[in-house]
């Protein structure tokens, strides 16, 4: 199921899956719910940026000979 949500199925597996959810209501529902959850995480979880001091210190490390 999660492989379907994440696009990790092979072509054959995808076909089988698509066929399955046309008639299996509980799987179809689970699929929708899982997709929603995944979308929610992507949209809602805030991503933090590295502080400038960190970026600078790392840039420095590759600027000077080691």
């Amino acid at each position: 199921m999660s492989a379907a949500v994440d696009g990790e199925l092979s072509e054959r597996e995808q076909q089988d899956f698509d066929q399955h959810i046309t008639w299996c209501i509980s799987c179809a529902r689970e699929y929708q719910e899982s997709k929603k959850t995944k979308h929610l995480i992507r949209e809602k979880v805030v991503r933090f940026k590295a502080p400038e001091s960190l970026v600078n210190s790392i840039l420095k490390l590759t600027d000077s000979p080691s």
Binding site: D6, E43, K44, V46, F48, P51, L61
Partner: protein, 198 residues
């Protein structure tokens, strides 16, 4: 006559190339790495140190990195190993979740950021960002980790399996169960605030 004189600060062409390649390939992932380090450590100072050490190590072993493969995945693996070596040894009790601590941490770091992402209406408008964050961090670590790596960082199953050192089947089932658990938690939050769940 002046070979290997440290004061001269001259580097070989190979070294210069290595620096360029590293800057081109590796530095761009710094935000993702920092974000991941924060998830792991829940502490900005620790995350800072962790990322720094990761890059130091990565630069040192950059020659062993296969160009053309996923550099981000490679860096993540190094970071994870550093984390385990450094922090897991003095591990907190597993399974203990302090929601107040998570909330506090989330808000403190969010305030410190001048341009974190905008509030997005998205699917479940009633849920606030911090609740989703809390719900995610309330999950057992093995579930939370795969969700982060898959949904937030966009790694493939194969890459994730390599990073967490588990078979792909395990990754699949953790994602399935993790998302399900997360849904239940989010529904709880929504219910507590009097919103209908969908």
């Amino acid at each position: 006559m002046t070979s290997h004189n440290k004061e001269e600060q001259q580097i070989s062409p190979a070294e210069a190339q290595k620096q360029r390649d590293f800057q081109e390939e590796a530095i761009q992932h710094i935000n993702a790495l920092y974000n991941y380090a924060l998830h792991l450590t829940m502490n900005p100072d620790d995350a800072h140190d962790l990322v720094q050490e990761t890059y130091l190590k990565a630069y040192k072993f950059f020659d062993s990195f296969e160009k053309g493969t996923n550099c981000k995945a490679w860096l993540f693996k190094i970071l994870k190993n550093n984390y385990i070596n450094k922090f897991r040894k003095n591990a907190r009790e597993p399974g203990k979740v302090d929601y107040d601590q998570i909330k506090e941490f989330y808000h403190s770091i969010k305030d410190a950021q001048s341009d974190s992402e905008d509030l997005n209406a998205g699917y479940m408008k009633s849920l606030m960002h911090d609740e989703v964050y809390q719900a995610l961090h309330g999950l057992p670590e093995e579930f939370r980790e795969v969700i982060e790596l898959c949904d937030i960082e966009g790694f493939t199953y194969e890459e994730i399996a390599n990073m967490v050192e588990s078979p792909i089947g395990t990754v699949r089932s953790r994602l399935f169960r993790g998302r399900k658990l997360l849904r239940e938690k989010l529904n709880d939050f929504a219910r507590k605030h009097g919103y209908g769940t969908e």
